[in-house]
Structures are given as structure tokens and as C-alpha cells.
Amino acid sequence: MKDFIIPDDTDMGTPAKEGAPVSLIIDGFDVTVPEGTSVMRAAAEAGIKVPKLCASDNLEAFGSCRLCAVEIEGRRGVPASCTTPVAEGMVVNTQSEKVRKIRKGVMELYISDHPLDCLTCSANGDCELQDMAGAVGLRDVRYKAPENKVLANHFATRNTSGEANPEWIAKDDSNPYFTYDPSKCIVCNRCVRACEEVQGTFALTISGRGFDSRVSAGAVDDNFLTSDCVSCGACVQACPTATLQEKSIIEMGTPEKSVVTTCAYCGVGCSFKAEMQGDQLVRMVPYKHGKANRGHSCVKGRFAYGYANHKDRILNPMIRDSIEDPWREVSWDEALSFAANRMRGLQDTYGKKSIGVITSSRCTNEETFLVQKLTRAVFGNNNTDTCARVCHSPTGYGLGQTFGTSAGTQDFDSVEHTDVVVVIGANPTDGHPVFASRLKKRLRAGAKLIVIDPRRIDLVKSAHIKAAHHLPLRPGTNVAVVTALAHVIVTEGLMDEAFIRERCDWDEFQTYAEFVSDPRHSPEANEMLTGVPASELRAAARTFATGGNGAIYYGLGVTEHSQGSTTVMAIANLAMLTGNIGRKGVGVNPLRGQNNVQGSCDMGSFPHELPGYRHVKDPEVRDLFKEAWGVDIDPEPGLRIPNMLDAAVHGTFKGLYCQGEDILQSDPDTKHVAAGLAAMECVIVHDLFLNETANYAHVFLPGSTFLEKDGTFTNAERRINRVRKVMAPRNGYADWEVTQLLANAMGAGWTYTHPAEIMEEISATTPSFAGVDYALLEEKGSVQWPCNEAHPEGTPLMHVDGFVRGKGRFIVTEYVATDEKTGPRFPLLLTTGRILSQYNVGAQTRRTDNVVWHEEDLLEIHPHDAENRGLNDGDWVRLASRSGETTLRATVTDRVSPGVVYTTFHHPDTQANVITTDYSDWATNCPEYKVTAVQISPSNGPTDWQEDYAAQATKARRIVPAAE
């Protein structure tokens, strides 16, 4: 295994600044740094490490430990180098006799209140207090107790005569992933500051004062678990001692090496150091040079990797003739030939187009590329689709139509330059937590926030954050609201005419302007429909149009509607209208759900597009791939997921290779999905676990985790990040190898020996990836596509000098109400979403300790609606739509508006998608998860369907082990 060489990871003490150069002399060396830089950081730049304990370069200087004192010529006293900014001509001495004496004196005080159990301490070898005691040359602690008294301390449980030490506080191990041991605490405040400055949750504080100052989570009676703590781990990372420590470190010890890789959860795509002992993962630490996350993480990325070793993980291939049979563990050869024979047999019987694939937005670009290649080059059809179908397909379509590229326009760093943020149909603090922390930091610095969401998400109001405007629209009325915003901007003359004239098609704008100016698009005319007060909507429009750099971030609350694509275009219109495209701090930013949704779309997973979003009807593109692959490409687009299922029910689609996606749980209208799957004759599931879809599968191919393979993920900002193998696949093969084995079993003759070779094929065939290769990724860490001759180092910002399609295109966005309407039988609107601690269908997070935060899906219902139905908090309720019904527990909250209910879809026991309907986006078939008319009633337990489903699942999961 070739380890990635980690660039200099030295903590510089204080954050980097931007400013005019300032020159000074430190210990005789000339140093030039930007204005505003601390003396400490300037010294670090010159290679001089000033001792420190409370400083860290991801936190503002605090100045409490006093170890970093220096002398500055012409200044009185001994200023702390962390809080003292550089000045031109300053002469600094970091090692004068005086400061050395202070440091030793301070360290003597620290150690006088610290248990000297270093050899058995969990931070042994990774303790800054230990390092600093060494650095200052402390040799003796002279403080001792007066006769008949005890030296005041925080670490001894009892004194020598057995009396309890009132200063001692027991270890808090309530959090499943880390412990808080107050006896080791040096009160440097780094944890508290990390919680505030980095994460923005403000769960921690210091209680008491003086010697009684203690780190405290939440209120007096709270522990870490019951406090507001979101378990992001920033405090643990910040702690210089063993006070806040990962339980994995306590159990296993310190790591011996680290490998930089990319998180496999959400679309933020955080970079992590996987810290290892041999092939054992000890902990994940967010990588400070990671350009998406800048050294931060959430509870999932940092801690929720335990699923990789969960007992449920399937490590052997399995087959069965019928889904009524139990699984049979077999060899890889047997499983693959069984699968290949069945698939070929189906094609022989039902035709070439009777089988297809579903690529995974969880797998690497290289793996996804191979799966779609499998259907196009080996199956000989275009029957490929991906889970992006059910999340961000409207983004691809909408942004492609208006701007010319199917991707977000910015990098995440851009948020640091924004002045007005619109968050629409997204819940970043839960869905994209690391981005949310970066956004909140900017909001705390004064940027304004407009939230357009039916629910009062945490961003609307949380610690030190308050949205300027919250537009709580009725689910399904996005287009009407966004168009009304445009109406205000156009009719009040707030648009950026110069930008529109220069960058957009002026004639199309005229048509558009005429359309939106129509009084029927005014906020007042739509107030009854959308539920958004017109005055608030007008105010929001003015804020966005006149508040400086305006950026729009959106999520599945925009796309998963029958008018998802229309809303994406409406958002694009809004950005063009206000000139908010093509520079830092602005743009249209889809928040991608899964780690590689962007990549799976880029890699040609859709049935009508070859890699790089090029239509299969284009003969030049087909020729290109014919040359590369040596086969003819079918010029007809293949089937989308819903079409595959429909065709299966009709008996024309018979075989499916589904990699890393659980369509039964994640796709809408579960009963229809189940019927489709049941009608197929060969369902091959390639996954870590026996997921819900596998209940209907005939072949199970064990998958590998992101820790077990090389490759790349592309995050929401088009950033291609490396995934690095840190351990051998427990199932024997990386996923790309399994796909290759299957292809070869079907006669393909592929010979890839490393994903780098697949990337070479991608860059050779896909213009936006033309410049991408593993050597470049090693050098740069990551690049954002397009990366080619014109942009050899990638493209952080899109459409800087002009739109990719030429002129930006305004598209008329007529509101068309969804057919899913409330009525007497189903008077409430259900909308769905996710929660911080769980991820998607929960296949991974449910198999980690994250369940302590969310062990079941709950139905949020407004007190008004609850009272009408006689429901109390915690009651079992029956949730029914015209598609189906399920039961779950209610939580009564005014977070949702009257008439709206909300739940998550993380648990198969609930199966929220039994409720959702088969309505979908008019352009892309993205399902309308976000709007379902439902009725709620009291219940006393699971529905018949849930019980039947559970029985079927248990039956379908029976396994007969291979003979020993």
C-alpha cells in the first residue's frame, strides 16, 4: 500500500490572515507575513515553534495558557505571542531568559494539578501537555501541601485520609464515541472554542471560575449526551490532553500512521486522515488541508465507521434459485457464473434490453464508470440509472438548461465571501453538517440568511444564528414562491441589468421579465396558495437583491417534486437576475445528498447520457466510446429506474445488477418497487449488507467499504477527492474488481489492475476530466472539474467570464400544482427529510452507535393537528396515504406548520416510502418524496403491512452456510 505523504501538518497556532506584507525579526531571522498575523504564527512560518497549549490554528487566539509569552523590543512586559499581531520592524525574542522562566513557572503550576499517570494515560505519546513540559525543561514540581492539608487538585478521587475530594468529578462516558475526564483538564478552553467557532453549536461552556473553572456540557444536570452536543468531535480533536478522548484510542492506543481519504457519507466530501495501526482503523480525524471541510467533520464522518466491522456485514457471495429459498453461501466463481449465466439467459430469452444496472452514488467514480460500461459495452443497452434519479436529477437538467453545466457553480470556500444566503429546501445542519458549520460561521460574522422551508429548521433560529426571513411555504409551492421573489425583483427594478445585458440572452430575458411581472405572480396573489405572507416574501426578495453577494444553497426539498426541474430553473433565473454568478460568495449551489451523487451523474449513469453528460444519440460521442471499448453503443436511451420497475411488472424487464443502492427502501411507493423486483428473474445485489432490496435478490455479491478500496469521489462542489485503501477488502474484492469479475464472467475480457487505469479511461473519453489523473490528485490533493487543458488545475468557480452554454438562459417557470392534493380523506401534507445522526436509509448508521441519537423515525406534527386527532407526544400513530400506510410514533412540535407533517426515512421498520406516491418530476422522473397527502390517526402498533413485510424480510434473509 502506497501511503499518501501528508503535507506539513504543523499547527501554526493561530489562523492565517490575508493582508499587506509585514516584515519583522524573530530570534534574528527575517520573517515576512500578512498584516494581522500573530507573532506566534509568524514564528511558525519561520520554523520557530513557540511553546503553546491554548492556541490552535483553527481557533482565534485566546491568550490563556501564557506559555507563548515572548519579549518584544521596545514593549513592556511579556506579551502572549498568540494574541499579539505583528508590526513592521518588530524585533521578537522567543527564548529570552525571562520568558523561559515564565514558561517553566507556568508549566510547574499546570503539572502541580495534573495526575502523573502518563505511562498509562490514553494520550500517552499524543499529549501536548507532555510535549510542552518537555519543551520548557520542567524538572521539578516544588508545590506541595502544607502539613495536615491536601494540595488542592482536580484529579485525586480521595485524599490520603480517605476523604472525598470535592474538586474531583467523575468521567463522563455518556457519549458513545468519546469520554470527558475532568481530572485531566487544563482548562485551555480549546474544546469550548471549537464548539463555538468551528462547529457553531455552543454546547460547551466553562462553569465556575478560578480554580473551579470546569468544562461543562449543557446545563447543570446535563452530560455530553443530554446536552446540545452534536458529537461532531471538534472538541475531542481540539483537546491537547486525554480529557476529551476517543473511546477507540482508549481501547486501542495511539495510531502509527495515517492515510488521507474521503468520507463516504454526504455530498460535502470531507477529507479525513484515517489513523491506523497496521490495517486496524484507530480513528478518523478530519484533515485540515481538506478543501471541502477545512479540518472539520460531523458525527457520521468522524465516528460512524463501525458498520465496516458490523456482524451483519456479508462477506461471502450467495445465490438462490428463487427468493422463496434461503440463501446459499458459495464461492465467488460459482456466484459469478450463476449470475452471468442467468443474465445472458435472460437476454437470450427476452432480448438484449431485458436487463440493466443501477449504479451507486455511494461507490467511487471508477466503480460507477465500470457499472455503466457493463450495461453499455457488455449488456449492449443503455439500461443504466442511479440513485441520483431520485435526488438530484432535476439539478442536472435545470442547471444544464440555464447555465450549460449540470453542477453547482461554487466551491465551499465561497461561503466565506457571501453576504446574503438563501437556503431553500435543505436542512444543512442535519444533512450537510460540515457545510452548515461553515455557513453558520459566516452568518455569525454578519451575513444575512433567508430560509425557504416548510419546517422551522435549526438554521432559522439556533445559538447566535437567526434567519432574517423564514418563508414557511406549503410543500409543493416552491415554483410559486421563487417566481414571486423574481416578480418583486423585476417589478421593483432591483435586478442587475448590466449583468443580464452582458451575460444573458436579452431577448429571452424580455420574455421572462414580462412573464414574472404579471400580477398573478405577485406575492400577494400567491399568499393564499403558498402560505407565505406577502410582506415577508417582498422583504426577503429585497434583502437578496440588494444585500451584496447573494448565494443560493438548495437541497432535495427543491428537486424531489413534480416541478423539481422547474424550481431549479427558477433558482437559476434568480441568480442571473441579481448578477449572482461567476465570482466568490455567490452562485447556485446544490447540496448533494450522497458522497458521489455528482460523480455518478458525471460518469454516465443516466440512460440517455454517456459520461460527461453527452447524449447517446450523438454519433460522434458514440464513436469515441466505440473506439475505446470496441463495441457499438446503442443509440437509444435506456430505461430509468421507474421505467425498469414498470417494465418488470409488464414482464419485459427481467434482470438487474444493483450496486450499492437499496431501492426498495429509498425509492417511492415501496409496494410498486417490491412488485417490480419480485417480477424479475435475476436480481443481483452488490452491497455490504442484506438490504431490503436483497430480500428480492437471487445473487448477493458482498461489497467493500470505502476504507477497503482506491478510487475517487466527486462532491457537491465538483471536487474530485481521492479515496485511499487503508485495509484489504474483508469480502476479498474491491467493488470495481467485483464488477470486472462479473463483466468477465459474461465474456468482457477487462484487465484493469488499479482504479488509476479506469481514471485514465475516464479522462481519455470525458472532456471535463481530460486533465485528471492520480498523479495530479496526489500533487494537488483534489481538483474541481472541469479539469482540462483550459483549466489544468481545475475550476473552483464556474461561469466566471461567461456561461458554459454561452449566454445565460432565462426560462419561464409556470407554476403547475402537483396532482397530489389534500382532500377530506388525506387532509395533511407529509414531507420527508433526514436527521444529523442517521444517513439515508440508515444501512450504515443504524449499524453504529449513532442509534443513541435516533433509534426510530418519528412523525412531527403540529400541536393543532395533534389535538384535533387526540394525539400526544410519543403516541403510536397510523400514517396513511393513497399508496399505503405505516405506523410510527408522533412527536408534537410547532417546528412544522399546521397542516404539514414530517418524518425521516432512516428505518426500514417504518418504511416511510410505503406512503410516498409515484408522482415525479415532469422532466427527470425524480420522485415527489416531499409532498404526499396523508391522514394521521391514533394507532396501537404496527400495521398489517409492516408485520407482513417483517415476516417476508426474515424469511428472505435465511442463510445456509457453505459446507466447511
Binding site: R66, G105, R142, K144, A145, L151, V187, I206, F211, S213
Partner: protein, 506 residues
Amino acid sequence: MKITVPMDSAAKAVGADEVVQALLAAAKDKGLEIDITRTGTRGMIWLEPLIEVEIDGQRHGFGPATPEDAAAILDGNSDKALGPVEALDWMKRQTRLTFARVGIIDPLSLDDYKAHGGLAGLKRAASMTGQEITDEVKASGLRGRGGAGFPTGIKWQTVHDADAPQKYIVCNADEGDSGTFADRMLMEGDPFTLIEGMAIAGLGVGATKGYVYLRSEYPDAIDVMRKAVDIARKAGVLGADVLGSGRAFDIEIRMGAGAYVCGEETSLLNSLEGKRGVVRAKPPLPALEGFLGRPTVVNNVISLATVPVIFEKGAQHYADFGLGRSRGTVTLQIAGNVAHGGLFETAFGIAIDEVVNDLGGGTLSGRPVKAVQIGGPLGSYMPVSKFDAKLGYEELDSQGGLLGHAGLVVFDDTADMLGMARFAMEFCAVESCGKCTPCRIGAVRGVETIDRIAQGDMDALPLLADLCETMKDGSLCALGGFTPLPVMSAVTHFPDAFSHAKEAAE
């Protein structure tokens, strides 16, 4: 019959209210018509309750009065008669600039205030530009009376020059030093002076909002200040248009929560913002990033209350008083074991000896003076051998002292100097905000180390000296930084208390 009785809490503490009741009852008995006005205190606390009766246009004093004295006072034959108050030695020897009206006027009568020169300074300032106002303060030589002695005008200039959408004036009225009471006495006795001073500061630096951070232990002062602000606002002294100047300034009274360290300006600002009262590192200076991150003047009550007289009488008039770089007057607060305790305002330069032995009249116990602690709990213990030292910032500093807020606490020869050193460390341990290590842990270790010395452990003495050096040089603010001053001054000037501690104890 016009009578004045202080409503100052020092006077009330020794029975002023009861004397008032007795006076009213006695007057009723006698069928006398009396008109009692409550004022601030003259500052002669040992004479409180000091009843003043206007006789032939002169205010004659009677004190310390008890309810039993009421009838005799009304009859004019009380044995507590002191004669005309202004003719008392204590009063005659003072230069009352800042405290000119305290004890004389009704604190909440704006008319009374104006009749005694009030608002003249603000009227003048209202006709000046911000820079002219700042220049005037600079010319006066006024320095921060909270203790640091930083030139007020220079601080104002920094705030004046800062470019910001909002600036603030914050008055530090968290008077926590032992033996000090000037701030309270002024706020209870002449609140409009402080309001006027803050308004001038606001006009000077371009701040439109002021806060008085007033300690909760001063309920009377809080009450008076709140009423005074309301009166001033109604009268147009505060508000959108200060005295018709077209410039805005308003004040809010905020109550502290009992932490000594919140008298330190940066923790005061944190507390004012609703945060924990911990010290902030400087830079950034509060003058540039203060309250809510905006440029902020943080000045002590006495500094701000001195501003009106500077503008009323001119900077030069004020600067003509004083010694060396300490210009104007110092408001000495004489307390502790002393015969005549109280407030005495005089030009800088008076010697300790004159204050303690002449004005103060020596100890109350009648025993010899052993030491005086000047500048609050963080000030040095000055031995009698240093009583020639003159009270001025630099003058006292050169003698190892600290003028601070100009409080003096007198001790007689029975004082246990090791105990006093221990108390200094204990005080620091109790009041430490806990942010910086030298103070947070050091103060606790200081108590323990002094206990070892008391037990005769002579190894502990050099350790105490090292600890004091670490605290002095390493602490973030003056609390940890100056605690070594009383400790080491006790060790230095009273070595016997430390070297033979164990023997003495045995």
C-alpha cells in the same frame, strides 16, 4: 428651617434615616416647620450621620448624630454642633473639583445641579467638534482614575479616530477594591455629573450610547442613577438631541453580578454583553474592539465625572493642579483602622504621612500605624518608613506602590502581615476568572505556599517569590498580575512575619 441629611448609603448605614425620622417627630412635637433635603455625603464618614442646618445662610453641621440628638439639634443646643461645615479643617483643606457638589445639592434635582454649575461643561462641549472635545481632555492631563492611570484623552482619541457604524461609552462603576467608595459616593451624591461626563465623552468620540456597569452591591447607587437617567432624558440632556446639539446620546444602567474581576475592563465588557465575565486578551484594545466588537471608551466613574468640571472651568484650570505627570485632583478614600475615615479630594502630590496621620488622625484603635495598603487588594502594603512618598502615579510607583483607585486602608501594629499576604492570594483565588493559568492555579498554590511558610517551611519562601514572579509576568490581567504586590511588599517590608512564622506560632 432648612435641614439637609445625607442619603448616601454610608450615612444610612450608621442611622441617617432614623435621625431623619427623629427630626420629623421632634419638629412635630415642637410645632416647628422643617424642610429636610436629602443630599450626598460630604465625605467625613466619621461624622455621619452629619446633619446640616441652615443658620444665617450658612450650613452648620451636627454629627455624628443619633436620633436622641434630634431635639437638641432643632433647638440649636446640641453638643454635636460642629459649626459651619465649610469651615471644618477637612473641608477647607480640600480642592473639590469632581466632588464640588456632592453633599451640597439634592442629587436628583436637575435645577439644583444647574444652579451649582451643572451642564455648563456639556453646553460648551455641544458647541465643539469631537476633535476639540478630545483635545480639551488631553490638555487637562486627566488620567484614568480606575487605577491604571492611562491618559483619558488619548483613549478618547483612539475611539474618535476609529471608523465604525456604532461606538460606545462604558462607565466602569464596578467599584470592588477594598476601602474604596468614591464611585458610589459620587453616583449617590451627584449622579448628573457622571451623566454629563458620559454625554461629553459621547459627543467627543462620536458614541451615541452609553452604559454604566454598576455593581449589584450598590442598590442605592443603582436606584439614584436610574432615576437620574430618566430625569436627564426627560429634560433633553440625554436622548436624540442632547441639549439641542442635534447629536444623540443615551445611557442605560446595567447591574453587575458580584464578580470582582468584572471591574477589569475586558471582563466587564464580556459581562455587559451577557457572556461569562472572563478577561479578554489585549490587543485588540477595547478602544478599537470593545462592547459588541465596536470602538468603546471604558472609563471609571471618577474619570468621567471629572470631565464636566474640565469643560466648565477649562482644561488649564484642571491641569494647574497636581504633581509631575499626575494632573488635577486625586479623590482619596481613607479607610481601615483609621480615626477619620472618608473622602478627601486634593491635588496630586500629598504625602502618605499627611493623609494617614494628619487627615486620618492615626488609627482608630489608637495603636501605632504599621502599614497602609494603597490601591485596593492588589496594592502594596506601604510601611511607615515609606510614608514620605507622595501620592502620584509615578511617585508612588517609584516607591514600589500602586495608587490604583486611591483607596487607603490603614493597619495598626497588631496586623498579621503573613495573614495579609495570605489573604491577598486567597482573594485572588476566589475572584480569579479562571482564564489564565498563573492566576487560576497560582493563587491557590500561593495560599498553600504561604501556609507552609507559616508552618516554618523555609523552602517555601523562595518558591513564593518565584510564584509571584510567574504571576506578575505571566498573568493576563491585573488581578493575577498585581496580587504579588501586596504579597511581596509584605514579605519585603515585614520579613519577620515570614522568617519566624513557625516560632511565633508555637
